[in-house]
């Protein structure tokens, strides 16, 4: 492997994030509890600088460390999204942690460490590096999920997440080793070259594909590898749930697309069949089970599972499409979907985090009863997020679905689009239920135990960003579509 100092410059954003993370961890014991706010501002500042740097790298494709790391527009797209979400997470956590009395300065350190793992995932072109990024991301998330040490549910979430995560990492690693055995390399371009002429029925490649699909399936939380999601999403502190539901999913999709489309592109016929099955199972199970949830975090967990199913449609379309444009459209649709999904899901989780009942999370759907009468603005925002998640125009959720279904129809998967849209209509029922509870039921008389909303300037910024994204991209998605379209072109 060749190494030049210039390579370090290329991964400057990652280095900055890691440095800031270490700084936070070192400063945390030194600072008094009143000064710990500074750690949040330090993290935010770092993220802002990183986003600037990443934006400047957007137009220069380059590779570092002998091709292990690729800095292209595709990677930059994901990194921008991830940094943005991490920024929102820090802002949300700032208020939420105080309310939960979780005075851990290292929390921000873990957010940044996890973020750096995600950034490595999306710009790595080597399976082992991707694995490294995945582990860095996951290990930090395991800790964050268990931060509410006094609450058994949080600990259970952490343990469950860790056991299943470790298990899936093992499967992923097994797939990587098989692929290495079959091709003699862990670099995606080399793998692609080695399998280019191979038969689709090659058992070794088949086994490797399946294992990789299962490994990534856990990270993406698609059915039947979703079992951990509801428990972990419900148990983890809500700010962490929001971060997991949005950022870890986006990063996993980023790496997943690169591995399958770039590395295993010539095995398309195999993996698109696998993902087609996973996609249908995810859409069906995610949406149906979400219908009967009474806890909003669990409902949103199943909803996020279902949304992974919609994004998978784009992946399947990219795999099935016969033409180059069909393939790029499929990938663009996935990127767009995840980006738009980030705004609405983060917004919804923020409202959930704001609702408190007697010092605890007010995370039962019943707790939203009559919210519109007490807090009209918060209810309106939640309405916008729910409408968007249901995919009804003119919101971002509709645009995301529109492009995914367009890719599906272009690839000749009209029946899949019909199926997915029918389930989208079914999903409207559980999103509408939240609206119904907020608007059409009168709140109980106010008592000390009534749910109340916490507010802070930081939360206002988070909500403003989320709702602005949902509404603006719902009305005028052009800039984001072009950005994703441009990013895809550098891919492959």
């Amino acid at each position: 492997m060749t190494f030049s100092p210039g390579d370090l410059f290329l991964i400057l954003p990652e280095l900055l994030v890691i440095t800031a993370a270490c700084l936070v961890l070192v400063l945390d014991p030194v600072l008094s509890s009143s000064q710990k706010d500074g750690l949040a501002w330090l993290s935010l500042g770092t993220l802002a600088i990183c986003m600037g740097l990443i934006a400047s790298q957007m137009n220069h494709a380059a590779s570092a460390f002998g091709g292990i790391v690729i800095i292209d527009a595709y990677a930059c797209f994901w990194k921008l999204l991830l940094c943005f979400v991490a920024g929102l997470t820090v802002l949300l956590s700032h208020t939420y942690l105080r309310e939960e009395r979780l005075y851990f300065g290292e929390y921000y350190g873990f957010v940044l460490l996890s973020l750096s793992g995600m950034m490595v995932m999306v710009s790595a072109a080597d399976l082992l590096t991707i694995y490294l990024g995945t582990e860095l991301m996951s290990l930090s998330l395991y800790v964050m999920a268990g931060l509410k040490r006094s609450e058994p549910r949080s600990l259970e979430a952490s343990a469950k997440y860790f056991v299943l995560g470790a298990f899936s990492s093992g499967i992923l690693l097994y797939g990587i080793s098989l692929l290495y055995g079959a091709t003699g390399s862990t670099r995606l371009p080399a793998i692609a070259a080695a399998i280019a002429g191979r038969s689709l029925d090659d058992p070794l490649l088949l086994a490797a594909t399946v294992l990789l699909a299962v490994g990534f399936g856990f990270k993406l939380a698609v059915v039947p590898f979703h079992m951990w999601t509801p428990d972990v999403y419900q148990g983890a502190p809500t700010s962490v749930t929001a971060f997991m539901a949005v950022a870890s999913k986006a990063a996993s999709f980023g790496a997943f697309l690169r591995v399958f489309v770039e590395g295993l592109g010539s095995l398309k016929a195999n993996w698109s069949a696998i993902f087609l099955l996973l996609c249908i199972a995810t859409l069906v199970l995610g949406n149906i089970v979400a219908l009967v949830q009474t806890n909003i975090k669990r409902m949103l967990a199943y909803s996020s599972i279902a949304h992974a199913g919609y994004a998978l449609i784009g992946v399947v379309a990219a795999g099935v499409a016969g033409t180059q444009t069909g393939e790029t459209n499929g990938i663009t649709a996935v990127m767009l979907y995840l980006a738009l999904y980030a705004f609405m899901t983060f917004g919804a989780f923020t409202i959930v985090a704001m609702l408190r009942k007697g010092g605890l999370d007010g995370d039962e759907i019943e707790d939203f009863t009559g919210l519109a009468a007490r807090h009209p603005l918060a209810a309106l925002l939640m309405l916008v997020f729910m409408v968007s998640l249901a995919g009804i125009p003119p919101t971002a959720g509709f645009i995301g679905k529109f492009y995914v279904f367009m890719a599906a129809v272009e690839a000749g998967l009209t029946w899949l689009a019909v199926l997915a849209l029918v389930f989208a209509a079914i999903s409207a029922y559980y999103y509408l239920r939240i609206i119904m509870v907020m608007y059409m039921r009168e709140p109980d008389p106010l008592t000390a135990a009534s749910p109340r909303l916490i507010m802070s300037p930081a939360l206002s910024i988070v909500l403003a960003c989320a709702v602005a994204g949902v509404v603006f991209f719902g009305l005028y998605p052009g800039p984001l579509v072009n950005l994703a379209g441009h990013a895809v072109l550098t891919f492959k």
Binding site: P393, F398, M436
Partner: protein, 517 residues
């Protein structure tokens, strides 16, 4: 003809901006602002009636701007002779909806008025959109405000009705979205409605697309087996909501058929015509029978809507000029008459807090003005000559006569039944004996209520006696639709050639020669 002035954008944006403005208005002025904005929108829409060039069947008042570049989706608006009357009907009804809600809505009035205004913007958008995706956006965007109108301000069973309304229409429209996408890839990568109306789609594909369109539009109309959401939604909705539902939302189904199904999928429309006409006749007779049995005034009018909308779909699928023009006329007339009837029920409900016919009897003595207007709307609804509904229903029946005499005979039963249920209703409500315990509540109409109802009464007679201004404006546009469906096929044996323009698409699209059933 292109107008540089963005009439349609203004018509859509003004109510939406008004809805935003309401958020910052003083509580006491909310009603006045909403009234002012809807009235301004009405005034703004009136010039279109005279600026419209009735000699042209093309789109007028066109506006185009690129909205999304990949795929090419445009912000494209325009009106033709079919959408113009519907837009004007909408702008005309909205101030009345605001007026009727003046006192009957006493909770969250600000949000209520905002929802009405959002609905107005979206409804005008639906009729004016000339890009299929834009159309779909407006079409779906109406769902949430309507859901809230029913669910927040509705009657006792409102939540059930609101969810049922929402899910029925949503399931229908998601299939429409798939059809839009398929059509995009099949007819030259465009969402332009005008271009798509000229494109040739293979007959086998048309079959599936027709079913998808049907799912969306038939639920909205609503056609016979898909009508079950309508009585619930109508009954539970507040008066203004019922008026919007009956007068405008139902028209979108009929509008969808005539704007999309007929010109874009002519072969399939022909092939499905017997089924469509059968369903229409079932709706006409079944709706009327159901109306006969209702004890609740709103339910009675709701089922009469099912029956009357049956005439719309009946006329559309006769593929001749009388039938289609009659159907469009019937859409406008149903909007006016049923809107008037729902307003009347709203008025009486404000007084007696009951919609039961048994509770509201003998109103002529205590409320002579009210009873007069109610009788006028009821007579219009049963299609008395001289009132507006007669024109539409007569034309539809005349068109059906060319198509099938049996169908005409069966559909005429609907008119007889309409006379039965409407006259029976009048007999009880207007001429029965007033129930003593209600008598104290029965004040006659005040000035605001008169102002709400009189405009509709004027239109009832104006259109009934002098329908020509509307017919001349839609003539050329309907001919264009007919030109698409008049390509001779084996599916129909109609004889109306002398009224048709030559098919504009003949030579340009060799693919038109695909095998037909």
């Amino acid at each position: 003809m292109t107008h540089s002035f963005p009439w349609l954008t203004l018509l859509i944006v003004l109510p939406l901006a008004g809805a935003v403005a309401l958020c910052f208005a003083k509580d006491s002025s909310v009603r006045l602002i909403a009234l002012g904005i809807t009235a301004a929108n009405l005034l703004l829409s009136l010039p279109l009636w005279w600026l419209f060039d009735s000699s042209s069947g093309g789109m007028q008042f066109n506006e185009t701007a690129l909205w999304i570049s990949t795929p090419p989706i445009h912000y494209r608006l325009g009106l033709d002779g079919i959408s113009l009357p519907l837009v004007l009907m909408t702008t005309m009804l909205m101030p009345l909806c605001v007026l009727i809600s003046w006192r009957s809505i006493d909770q969250r009035i600000r949000s209520f008025m905002a929802m009405l205004l959002v609905m107005e913007g979206a409804m005008i958008g639906v009729f004016a959109a000339l890009d299929f995706v834009l159309f779909y956006v407006f079409w779906e965007a109406m769902l949430i405000p309507m859901y809230l109108l029913i669910g927040v301000w509705g009657g006792p069973n409102r939540i059930y009705a609101a969810v049922k309304f929402f899910l029925y229409t949503l399931v229908g429209s998601v299939l429409l979205l798939v059809a839009i996408l398929v059509l995009y890839f099949q007819s030259g990568h465009t969402f332009d409605i005008v271009q798509l109306s000229q494109a040739a789609v293979p007959a086998s594909l048309q079959f599936w697309l027709f079913l998808a369109f049907f799912a969306a539009f038939a639920v909205k109309v609503p056609m016979f087996p898909f009508h079950t959401w309508l009585p619930d939604a109508h009954v539970e909705a507040p008066t203004a909501g019922s008026v919007i539902l009956a007068s405008v939302l139902l028209k979108m189904g009929g509008y969808g058929f005539v704007r999309f199904s007929l010109p874009m999928l002519p072969d399939a429309s022909m092939a499905f015509a017997p089924l469509m006409i059968t369903l229409s006749i079932i709706a006409i007779i079944y709706g009327a029978y159901m109306a006969l049995a209702q004890a609740d005034l709103k339910k009675l009018i709701a089922y009469s809507s099912v029956s009357h909308m049956g005439f719309v779909t009946l006329g559309l699928f006769t593929f001749n000029i009388q039938g289609i023009e009659g159907a469009v006329m019937q859409m406008v007339n149903h909007g006016i008459t049923t809107g008037g009837l729902f307003l009347c029920v709203g008025v009486i409900y404000e007084r007696t807090h009951s919609r039961q016919i048994a509770d509201n009897t003998g109103l002529t003595t205590p409320m002579p003005r009210y009873a007069t207007l109610l009788v006028i709307f009821a007579l219009s609804s049963l299609g008395l000559p001289g009132t507006n509904s007669f024109v539409g229903e007569f034309m539809v029946l005349a068109g059906t006569f060319i198509w099938s005499k049996l169908a005409t005979a069966l559909a005429s039963l609907g008119i007889i039944l309409a006379a039965a249920y409407m006259l029976w209703m009048i007999q009880r409500v207007a001429f029965g004996l007033p129930s003593q315990h209600m008598l104290s509540a029965l004040r006659d109409l005040d000035r605001r209520e008169m102002a709400t109802l009189i405009p509709l009464v004027v239109l009832v007679f104006l259109i009934g006696i002098f329908p020509n201004p509307i017919l001349t404006r839609m003539h050329a546009s309907v001919n264009q639709v007919l030109a698409r469906t008049s390509v001779p096929t084996a599916a129909t044996a109609m004889r109306a050639d002398d009224q048709l323009l030559p098919a504009p698409t003949g030579g340009d699209f060799p693919a038109m020669e695909t095998p037909r059933p």
